[in-house]
């Protein structure tokens, strides 16, 4: 579902991606960068005090917040930047919502010597100002996008337009498991390292798999990354969407019970939209979860009954963040806090052991935490 201008670049990208996957040299380079630059494997932290508070027997946190630049986004950004360099591209275009993907891409580009332009909605630029500063320090150009709500959706629009204009020399590093094929596949493929590590780590620490694995889901890069490697394990896989501050269209970003199938940004998936097929407005305290569409692969797993989707409201996410801070000394990103907010319900449903993906750190959200939690 992409404009014709982008079709050949997308086909070229898919071919380059397949070739890279088959190239031991590329794999070794990626592995070395993930280890020495990104800091993989990220730890799996047992959270005994939070578990006790919630009535869980054991809780394990996969610590993407400790990855370089503070979120899981770097896994994909770095891998795609390596791929772009391999394809001979010298310029990178990216969109960003919360700013974590933009920061990760800017860092990866600085690391590899690629020019970088990041498109970011003006609303997101205001609420995630520290990330704007970080991108600029890394030498990236941040282009404000004024259209619409000034958030991720508009940033993707603008990045796609920019890529259409420079697709012969630039690579577009999409940060979520969405957009036209092969992006969802690329992103998922570069993020499953999260779940692969977590699965091995929880086995090592607990001697068994947990009963449930939980991740937050905006586009789905973190959700797929954590959940896919547990596919054959017969455990509950859960994704948590932004419940925002209400159930009406425009008050949340819960695509499962608020959306229906549609096409946005080159892929067909669950989409929040009005009756005319116009994309709906969304609301969430978290800049990383307010995208109106669920990534297509995650949507397919959900509709297939393989992944459960729940929603957490702004207030529930904020309370969950505070509880993690106070019981374990870990400051989660607002996105990750949505996953944490599911834990009381999971415990009430009888889950005893849970593995949860902490997709990023909450430093970028400090001003929201301060004002909403009245610190």
């Amino acid at each position: 579902y992409a404009p014709e201008t982008l079709m050949q670049p997308l086909l070229d990208l898919e071919a380059a991606f397949r070739a890279a996957l088959d190239d031991p040299g590329f794999q070794a380079e990626l592995k070395a960068e993930l280890r020495h630059f990104v800091g993989r494997p990220t730890p799996l932290t047992p959270a005994p005090r939070l578990a006790a508070k919630l009535g869980l027997k054991a809780l394990y946190l996969k610590r993407e917040d400790l990855a370089h630049t503070g979120a899981h986004k770097i896994n994909n950004a770095l891998a795609q930047a390596l791929l772009a360099r391999r394809m001979g591209r010298t310029e990178i275009i990216a969109e960003t919502g919360a700013g974590q993907h933009g920061v990760a891409t800017a860092a990866a580009c600085a690391r590899l010597g690629l020019r970088c332009t990041v498109y970011m909605g003006v609303t997101d630029m205001a609420r995630q100002a520290p990330n704007v500063a970080r991108m600029r320090l890394f030498g990236a150009t941040v282009r404000p996008v004024e259209a619409g709500q000034g958030t991720l959706k508009e940033a993707v629009n603008e990045a796609l337009r920019a890529w259409a204009g420079h697709c012969t020399e630039a690579h577009y590093i999409l940060g979520s498991a969405l957009g036209p094929h092969p992006f969802p596949t690329l992103v998922r493929s570069f993020q499953t390292v999260i779940g692969e590590e977590a699965r091995a780590q929880v086995f090592e620490q607990a001697g068994a798999l947990p009963e449930a694995v939980v991740a937050c889901a905006g586009g789905g890069s973190n959700g797929l990354g954590l959940l896919i490697p547990f596919a054959g394990d017969g455990l509950r896989r859960m994704a948590v969407e932004a419940g925002g501050h209400g159930r009406a269209l425009g008050e949340h970003a819960a695509r499962l019970d608020g959306g229906r199938m549609g096409v946005l940004h080159g892929c067909r998936t669950l989409l929040l939209q009005d009756e005319h097929g116009h994309t709906a407005e969304t609301a969430s305290v978290s800049a990383g979860l307010d995208y109106p569409a669920l990534g297509p692969e995650l949507a397919a797993l959900v509709l297939d009954g393989k992944v459960e989707v729940r929603r957490a409201s702004d207030d529930e996410a904020l309370a969950a963040a505070r509880l993690l801070c106070e019981t374990e000394g870990i400051l989660p990103a607002l996105e990750s806090s949505h996953a944490l907010a599911l834990l009381p319900a999971l415990a009430a449903e009888g889950a005893a052991t849970v593995l949860l993906g902490l997709s990023g750190r909450g430093d970028k959200d400090l001003s929201t935490y301060q004002s909403r939690l009245e610190l």
Binding site: E4, R161, G165, E275
Partner: protein
């Protein structure tokens, strides 16, 4: 068939849906065979700032896909229309309601910018069978082999069919719709010549063309220049469509 000298683009609902029939009648009075009518969309990823703004204004004024098509129903002095749209609004309407809405209108074909051939094969085939073929797009990144395939997948219905159903759309440059920033014509001239070696169907050339010299250069190739963003911008200033089009027909 004589050469269609210009393919104008109008954004439905901008300045108003009520104005649309009059604008179309003026175009027809100038002897134009076909006009592109844009269905305003919330996320027009292939459009530049002018058409984005026009679409958002139109949506703000209630120009929903259904109301746009209703406003085109029963027009008798309109050129053939090419409905320029994104795929999602069509999918959300659904095939049967869409066909019922199209039937009384002068719409003769669909230009769906984000629907490559093969993504919705059933939907596309039903529309074609009902008389609404999809216009093939040929971008600067479209290789010669791919162009041949595309033109085959969305075939020329033949000289008996009107321009609106026959033409292929040649995207003049990389990027999005919008008045040219001093577009270098040489590459598109070369591409049009190559494509004319592949196909006998009429070609329209758009994206970034607005000055009379560019339009003349396209015509000199035996192709039809598309005038979109520049026309929409002109109309926004209140300039009459007749004047806008006449200036670009010379």
């Amino acid at each position: 068939m004589t050469l269609n000298p210009l393919l104008p683009f109008l954004m439905a609902g901008d300045p108003s849906l009520e104005a649309l029939p009059g604008l179309l009648a003026e175009a027809r009075a100038l002897g134009l065979d076909a006009v592109e009518v844009g269905l305003p969309h919330s996320d027009p990823i292939a459009d530049g700032p002018v058409l984005q703004a026009a679409a958002h204004r139109a949506i703000g004024r209630g120009a929903t896909p259904r109301r746009v098509l209703e406003s085109l129903a029963g027009l008798t002095d309109s050129p053939d229309l090419i409905l320029f749209t994104y795929v999602n609004p069509l999918l959300q309407l659904g095939l049967d309601p869409l066909l019922r809405l199209l039937e009384p209108t002068p719409v003769r074909s669909l230009l769906v910018v984000d629907l490559p051939f093969g993504e919705e094969p059933g939907f596309e085939a039903e529309l074609r069978a009902a008389g609404y073929p999809m216009v093939p797009l040929l971008a600067p990144t479209t290789t010669s082999d791919r162009a041949k395939a595309l033109l085959g997948q969305r075939p020329d219905p033949g000289p008996g069919a009107p321009f609106a159903q026959r033409f292929a759309y040649v995207v003049a440059r990389l990027g999005v719709t919008g008045a040219g920033q001093g577009t270098d014509l040489d590459p598109v001239v070369a591409r049009v010549r190559d494509l004319q070696g592949i196909t006998a169907r009429p070609l329209a050339v758009g994206f970034g063309l607005s000055d009379p010299a560019s339009l003349r250069a396209v015509r000199a190739l035996g192709a039809t220049p598309v005038i979109g963003s520049a026309l929409v911008a002109d109309l926004t200033t209140g300039r009459p469509i007749k004047a806008c089009l006449e200036a670009r027909l010379v």
